[in-house]
Amino acid sequence: MNAETIYLDNNATTKVDPAVVEAMLPYLTTYYGNPSSMHSFGGQVGKAIQTARSQVATLLGAEDSEIIFTSCGTEGNNTAIRAALAAQSDRKHIITTQVEHACVMNVCKLLEKQGYTVTYLSVNRKGQIDLAELEAALTGNTALVTTMYANNETGTIFPIEEIGSLAKSYGAIFHVDAVQAVGKIPLNLKNSTIDLLTLSGHKLHAPKGIGALYVRRGFRFRPFMLGGHQERGRRAGTENVASIIGLGKAAELELTHLPQAVKQEKQLRDRLEKFLLTNIADCEVNGDPKNRLPNTTNIGFKYIEGEAILLSLDRYGVCASSGSACTSGSLEPSHVLRAMGLPYTILHGSIRFSLSRYTTDAEIDRVLEIMPGIIDRLRALSPFNSDAAGWLQEREEALAI
């Protein structure tokens, strides 16, 4: 990666804040003791972990005892879903959505094979769920409602408290995958309906491979990882100390940065979006413009393919992502965009820019400078330039059957 990298892929992962690295380093060098040890050399590390726990709790408006450190967002989601089902073992129904991350989706798919019924709530063109559909799906047999807070691809934010209230009224447990929300928008779990909430460090300027699970006090928690008594028996395994310290520091920094960062990211994102929409024909925003993460924009450029756009941007050092089939490693475009019912013309040419507090005005200027040329060049190569092209329409219909 060269010095001029313009990193607009912060929903994939973020730059580790230098202050986080600095906080971590002593725990990789000097303080290498085991926090479970009976000597003070290890004990001081245990204290540092408690501080980190407290920092994470504060960011969420939670209590220290409600935070369990995990190895990542994926582990948090797996743990939460299993814990919820164990806590309500007589209930066999799960409600989730069609746009969840693979680590929720694939767990639900497996549970279906193990005797659970799963309802996958649909989303509309904006990626938003319908609360009436949720209410209709809820029964006394529903053990768990699990939804994301905000979508990683479009940034669409779900009406979390409304979902939670409905879930509560049927006695269901409510888990939220907040991996994309924590650090991007302020959260307060104090008076929330959320029982379980997942977060991941690498999305908020902490390292990869560290996360946390919020478990509401009083919840009958069953651990996923069995072994020693770490995390009060709720997550066995010797702690990833340095990363936990890093996550704590990142949470603390987020608390101070957040109000300003939200404003700055939103302003830059809006500028980027507005310029592209007005200066490039045949493109549109995918997602819910009203309820959306301030740092994310997902734009569909018609008649061209996303991977080709990404490679073109890459040449200028600009990092973004796409939900097109060719980038996914599978042959299908993103399940999120498909669930939204987007036409194929938009689907394959969708690009996500996701900003962070490190994103600058000059970087956005640079992207605006190069994007029109990139889109023009690829469109000049494409055989399509209008929705009316007969032969492709036929194929589209054929495939829809």
Partner: protein, 294 residues
């Protein structure tokens, strides 16, 4: 990120022959295009050809592609490869040739090269007035409904590219890459092709054996006569260099010869000479003969 070759990236960033070809009124010139894929599939190629009618030759080729980096590079590569070829020659271009031209493609992107080959075929068939839909090989039952792939097309791609796994088939023509309900069917085809191939190999081997048996059927006298004939042909050349060769004895497939004169003075040249005689004898008399200098 995909591991693209320099050539792929070069043809993506600086594509050659992009665009359409103007239809012209010129005598003896025809302009056609062939198209495959669709927006729904995520890639599509429209290949334009300018054809010299009397010569049945491609004068110019251009492309319009909707697709990823490797789809664009494959299209551009194809146009470069086929310019100047006769239509019959062009029909021999395979997707493998396209991939090779690009210095290789990631496995999961092989379908981009397949798209090129198919568009070329579509254009030529269209020009020749053959309906692609009625093209023998693509007739057959729809096997993969997600990507609209027939069983015959799967069979063809398996044979042409020596594919042995379902995964490879998906990489080449996408079939099986979505709902997966056709995976078992694809597997059956692969097994069928492998069985056919094994049967063919067995037949070919039997045939070869038969041929060998016939020539093995030479009597020793016939063998000696033939060997002597060949040696007599070689001798004048050796004599000119001051050497000579003489048949000493025959023991089964072993032909013992005496190499003389200038040739025997240096071991290197003796070895070369022995090899040359052996090649000639194997070619003309029996492929199993071994020459030994005594």
């Amino acid at each position: 990120m995909w591991d693209y070759t320099e050539k792929v990236l070069d043809l993506f960033y600086n594509p050659k022959n992009q665009g359409a070809i103007e239809v012209t009124e010129e005598n003896d010139i025809a302009v056609v295009f062939g198209e495959v894929g669709s927006i729904a599939c995520g890639d599509a190629l429209r290949l334009h050809l300018k054809i010299n009618v009397p010569a049945d030759q491609i004068l110019d080729a251009r492309f319009q592609t909707f697709g990823c980096t490797s789809a664009i590079a494959s299209s551009s590569a194809l146009t470069e490869m086929i310019k100047g070829l006769t239509l019959d020659e062009a029909l021999n271009v395979t997707n493998k040739d396209i991939a090779n031209y690009l210095g290789g493609l990631p496995e999961a992107k092989m379908h981009c090269s397949v798209m090129g080959q198919e568009a070329l075929e579509a254009a030529i068939y269209k020009y020749r007035g053959i309906e692609v839909e009625h093209h023998d090989e693509d007739e057959g039952a729809l096997l993969c409904t997600c990507f609209g792939v027939s069983d015959n097309r799967v069979r063809r791609i398996v044979i042409e590219n020596n594919l042995t796994t379902v995964e490879e088939v998906t990489n080449y023509i996408k079939a099986g890459g979505s709902c997966g309900s056709c995976l078992a069917g694809i597997e059956d085809i692969i097994i069928g092709v492998q069985e056919d191939k094994a049967a063919t190999t067995a037949r070919v081997e039997a045939e070869l054996n038969r041929i060998q048996q016939t020539s093995r059927g030479l009597t020793t006298v016939q063998k000696i006569t033939k060997i002597q004939q060949v040696l007599d042909e070689v001798r004048p050349m050796l004599l000119a260099d001051g050497g000579d060769v003489e048949l000493f004895d025959i023991d089964g497939d072993l032909v013992k010869v005496i190499l003389k004169g200038a040739c025997s003075s240096c071991s290197g040249s003796t070895a070369t000479l022995k090899d040359a005689i052996e090649t000639r004898l194997r070619d003309r008399v029996l492929p199993t003969l071994i020459v030994e200098a005594v």
